[in-house]
Symmetry: D2
Subunit: 139 residues, 4 copies
């Protein structure tokens, strides 16, 4: 997938389908999170590493366009890249595909806050650097 260097696979669970016979649209939002967690595990020591430093990454925006339905038991590849880190904020972009075919795409925005106070705080340098290295490798 052009411009993306990281992906993780999810398999549509039966619990994630709905009475239309396809994956419910809210399930995709969870899969984006699964991809972010896998991205951080791969590139930056994991989301748990961030939480253990007393930080949380809040989700401030979710936008998803659904191009094709996904069915039970299908394997979807979720491509993710961190596209913009500035101050306390960062953005992820995604493409979800099945056998190379675009199923959905979108982005999420996030803000880093201190766990105790929920006050915004700069994305830590080690995380900025880890993301920069990760994305440089896909340029």
């Amino acid at each position: 997938m052009e411009g993306f260097s990281f992906s993780t696979d999810v398999r549509v669970r039966f619990a994630e389908t709905d009475a239309q016979g396809i994956a419910h649209h809210a399930s995709f939002v969870v899969w984006l999170e699964v991809a972010r967690v896998a991205y951080l595990a791969h590139h930056a020591g994991g989301y748990q590493a961030i939480r253990e430093r007393g930080l949380e990454a809040l989700t401030t925006e979710v936008c998803l366009r659904y191009h094709r339905a996904a069915a039970f038991d299908e394997t979807l590849r979720v491509w993710a890249r961190c596209s913009d880190v500035r101050g306390a904020r960062f953005t992820y972009e995604y493409r979800i595909e099945r056998d190379g075919e675009l199923v959905a795409d979108g982005y999420t925005k996030h803000a880093v806050v201190e766990h105790e106070t929920y006050r915004p705080t700069r994305v830590p340098d080690w995380l900025v650097d880890a993301i920069a290295r990760a994305e440089a490798s896909s340029a």
Copy 2:
């Protein structure tokens, strides 16, 4: 809420929270659906009425901005309006508030398809009319 004539309340379930101690961002996507279902029940005989005519309304886009966190057991008011009906497509806009304070806002887009074939089909006239009447009442 200016420009909105319909709302429904949801109460944050414990199952809808996450380890950040707040409602998970995917829960909001479900609440938008709850509001659409309630809107259709109020204005147009219910979503089931649509399904019984062999139609489905697919979700083709979801965009949500989160302004404040929502906590377990809080009551949120989900304002919804149908803002654009043309051909097979329609749009909903939303504002989610708690005690008059904006918690999240966004929109969803939908396409009407035939249940059997998943082919797009025009939004039926009776539904267009019901929505037009509903939204006229809020102008």
Copy 3:
């Protein structure tokens, strides 16, 4: 419902259905929790009151028998009673019905723990008393 003095209603959400066209069986587990929360709100100042005292009620067991399928948009009545409080532990029993017809029944077991340490602690007297009063009224 014989032996039950408390109930709360839930309406089957579209997101709670699955590709079998009915409510997914895990959705029922969430509805039991909704009923417990409503029970505590009605009888004992709310689950939040328990949490604010530094306690958590962990779920240690869930058993559910499904007698009939539940469909999208149906209203289900969840009857709940607290049947057994001893030491750190208590039990809830449930009957879920639709128009007086049994849809599911079951029970859950719980243990009260201190939030900080996760160590079991006796159900507080004020809660034991509130439950005793609640259940006496249904005898």
Copy 4:
């Protein structure tokens, strides 16, 4: 795991946690389903194969005991076996462990029905045989 020949791993998603900071108890019910689906994929051509023959496997009972909490991002091993097939009904037993430590155990019961009519129907011979072979290998 004694008596079990099949397992599948799940990783606790952030969306599966709750404000207690641990995996929500309803998430486990979904993981049992994930294990059943993986079991059938491994031993009997997949659950989709059953559905494509016009059959559904309804869940008629779920019982789960929770022995330890599970945290975000932990990998859990879900052991599953099909323990009883008779007529239209079958049972699964489970043990969920983390690094060899028991986290939860339980069982689910199921009934095979015809998709169109929801009438119970005998578990098909090919599926009975596949399960028998699968379980013989673990004896």
